[in-house]
């Protein structure tokens, strides 16, 4: 189903609960009654067309949002990516970490199993934090600077021209990884090799959270690879030609 600005998000979410985290990520609070997408976006100051691309992509795996997103301002995509970073680092990863911490085994295995999982997960958490921190301090500010100068038909800032001599978004593109292989390993370990914990309900929750996070991260990386990188590349070339 294609979600348009006249559709009521309440109806869509009732049909597809996977949209719940996306709604929250845009800062929309529940209890929005029968308002339609356009009304809600207006209320929260959200760019409606951008919102529609993101929710449609999330709602239908065959929906391709990239073409349209590449033609919108990069600042929209970047601010959404930043919100996702916050969600991973400050909400989801600590939540899963706490769940792991609450797993319990019989006396003699408890310490070993818990420590090994905790260590693995904290290493992974660090990996994600470093990855996102690098994007937030290096990559995103750089692409926003590109965009600002690109839109400014006057003189390009000399500081940027200086950077363009040595810097290129291609360097980031070449080393940009998915952050997913550790999650894949963790799923395998829990499903196949970990001694069953006493609280299987927690095990179940952890697995579900990992699957959701994995999908979310994949979409996130796709957005970076298919929108941020190609648009930045285009602007780099254009700015170099202009000057």
């Amino acid at each position: 189903m294609l979600i348009t600005k006249n559709i009521k998000p309440a109806d869509v979410i009732l049909q597809n609960y996977h949209l719940i985290p996306i709604i929250s990520r845009f800062g929309i609070k529940f209890g929005f009654g029968d308002k339609n997408v356009e009304q809600i976006c207006k209320q929260y100051g959200i760019h409606t067309d951008f919102f529609l691309e993101i929710v449609n992509a999330f709602n239908d795996k065959d929906y391709n949002p990239y073409e349209k997103l590449r033609n919108m301002s990069l600042s929209l995509t970047v601010s959404y990516l930043l919100k996702s970073h916050y969600y991973y680092n400050k909400v989801k990863l600590p939540f899963i970490e706490n769940l792991i911490d609450s797993l319990e085994w019989e006396e003699e295995d408890n310490v070993k199993n818990k420590n090994v999982l905790k260590k693995f997960f904290s290493q992974y958490r660090k990996e994600v934090t470093e990855h996102t921190a690098n994007e937030e301090t290096e990559i995103y500010p750089y692409v926003l600077e590109l965009e600002q100068n690109y839109n400014n038909t006057g003189k390009t800032a000399s500081s940027l021209l200086e950077k363009l001599k040595t810097k290129s978004i291609k360097d980031y593109a070449e080393t940009h990884d998915e952050l997913n292989s550790s999650l894949l390993d963790l799923k395998n370990i829990i499903i196949k090799y970990l001694q069953p914990a006493k609280n299987q309900d927690v095990t179940e929750q952890i697995l579900i959270e990992i699957f959701k996070l994995e999908k979310d991260l994949t979409d996130h990386t796709e957005l970076e690879n298919n929108v941020v990188i190609p648009v930045a590349e285009r602007m780099e070339t254009e700015l170099k030609n202009r000057n």
């Binding site: 090994v116 550790s182 390993d185 196949k192 090799y193």
Partner: protein, 198 residues
């Protein structure tokens, strides 16, 4: 982890393609499913994707009948399924391993494709017992201790190349790719002590 099969669907119509996709994705053995919209560059794509099964619309090869013979010759292990959209009893599809047609019920199509899959599977599953060999366990242990391929080779008196082969097989068997994942496995299975891990 059992080896999954890779499929390539060659079909122009979106509606038919997604129908075929729907059927294919429901098999346990299904791994990657790739799609092509026409036969341009088909040979090149097969070389690149290396599918186990190719599904192609009969209409697409009407204009280039020699193409399928070419594929058969070049890719001996590739299973060929022809999809027939309209009644064409007169045609001879003997070059294909299987024919499915638009008017067949789902149960029949699924059954036919499943038996074709079963023909391929044993070969792909060769030497894939789920358990690690003693040598592989030793390699996992060394990886968990933080050793490089070169160091592992020196310790176990094997070439670094052999170490890489072991690592590939270990990942295939366990479904664990990263060093930290293998370390967890090694500790859980008492191959090393938690204090020894890097």
């Amino acid at each position: 982890m059992a080896a999954k099969l890779s499929f390539l669907i060659v079909e122009k119509s979106y509606i038919i393609r997604s129908g075929l996709m729907q059927i294919i994705s429901n098999f346990y053995e299904t791994g990657v499913v790739n799609e092509l919209h026409n036969v341009e560059n088909l040979l090149k794509n097969i070389s690149g994707i290396k599918p186990d099964v190719l599904i192609i619309n009969a209409k697409l090869i009407d204009a280039v009948p020699e193409l399928i013979l070419d594929i058969r010759k070049k890719f001996k292990d590739l299973k060929l399924i022809v999809f027939v959209g309209t009644r064409r009893e007169a045609d001879n599809f003997s070059v294909f391993d299987l024919k499915i047609s638009v008017d067949e019920p789902k149960s029949l199509i699924v059954e036919k494709i499943q038996s074709l899959i079963n023909e391929i599977k044993p070969k792909k599953d060769d030497n894939l017992s789920e358990n690690l060999s003693e040598r592989e366990k030793e390699v996992v242990k060394q990886i968990a201790l933080g050793k490089t391929n070169k160091e592992i080779g020196e310790t176990l008196f094997i070439s670094p190349h052999t170490v890489i082969t072991h690592r590939k097989n270990i990942t295939k068997k366990l479904g664990i790719k990263t060093v930290s994942g293998l370390t967890v496995y090694a500790i859980l299975n008492n191959l090393i002590k938690i204090e020894e891990a890097v």
